[in-house]
Amino acid sequence: MTVISKVDSTGFQRGWTLVFLAWFVATIATAGSLFFSEVMQIPVCELCWYQRIAMYPLVLVLALSLFPYDPRVVRVAGALVAVGWFIALFQVLLVAGIIPEDMRPCVQGIPCSETHITLLGFLNIPTLSLLTFSLVGTLLFLTHRIETS
């Protein structure tokens, strides 16, 4: 009896920590994207907006599932991450020129295949987004594994 509860409590511990890390990563990404658009005034293209729609709710959803800890959040947050991940992947391929973009370049806004920031020679904003969604997704997946085991 005591052994089982011990296993349970460590599982609980690790699950909580993973969701906490996922929240932390999503919050950094949210703050970062707001910094790019609001402080540096980098224009936000259409695809970036769709990724924001998937990323921003994670900050609240994951935070609320920490107090009290509710592992069922993986379902909701996982769906958001999946959507964001595919859009980020699409944009990364667009930037890389693997998927061609329609001819609608400088109309009103900004072509999504244009990048504004390059860190360390390869990290542009869509790549950062894809990495972030992958990381949050992995953390949520690990949480799910712990909870179902």
């Binding site: 906490f20 703050a31 910094f35 402080v39 107090f67 020129g97 370049p105 400088c106 009103q108 244009e114």
Partner: protein, 210 residues
Amino acid sequence: MSRKFLFITGIGIILLAFIIAVALYQNQNSSLSGASSTQRQGAPVKGPENAKVTIVEFFDPACGTCADFYPLVKQLMDQYPGKVRVMMRYAPLHTGSDQVVKMLEAAHQQGKYWETLELLFKNQNRWVVNHVSQPMRARALVNGLALDHGRLDIDINLPEVSRVIQQDIEDGQALKVQATPEFFVNGRPMPSFGYKQLSDLVKEAVDEAY
């Protein structure tokens, strides 16, 4: 460490990092003055000198929409003969365009601005690949024009040329030009992007001035 403490520390760290980043960024950019002017002395102008309505266009030669708008702007000038002139200013937003606008400015020094611009717009697909300017290809294209090519290659690297472009970029930033083409008619921006909005703005300005 209690969970709530960890959570609040997390919020604190992100918030603090954000505030520091904002402060650092703004400090770095405080040198930009607030003075912003839509017109620049010596910028390429088409149309009568004494026209009371000036369309200022911030553009990137690599921008497809700028090329599409070029005949439309001409059409507007024809619509109000003698009353409207257009001034072109550089906003090299595309990668590689900084070199191409230098070449344009060098051509301007020889009085061959419009020929060069028209050639670049007309053959955009030959020197813009995936929204990235290829300055060497643009240069090769211009070889077909009757220019003093030796002088052009020297002028591209003149500090005056860089200064002019830097001035345009800084004014563009001050005027919040984030996409091209961006138009200002007698200093007024378009309410939203579109040909109709531009032609309405020009009509308004002509009605006011004449």
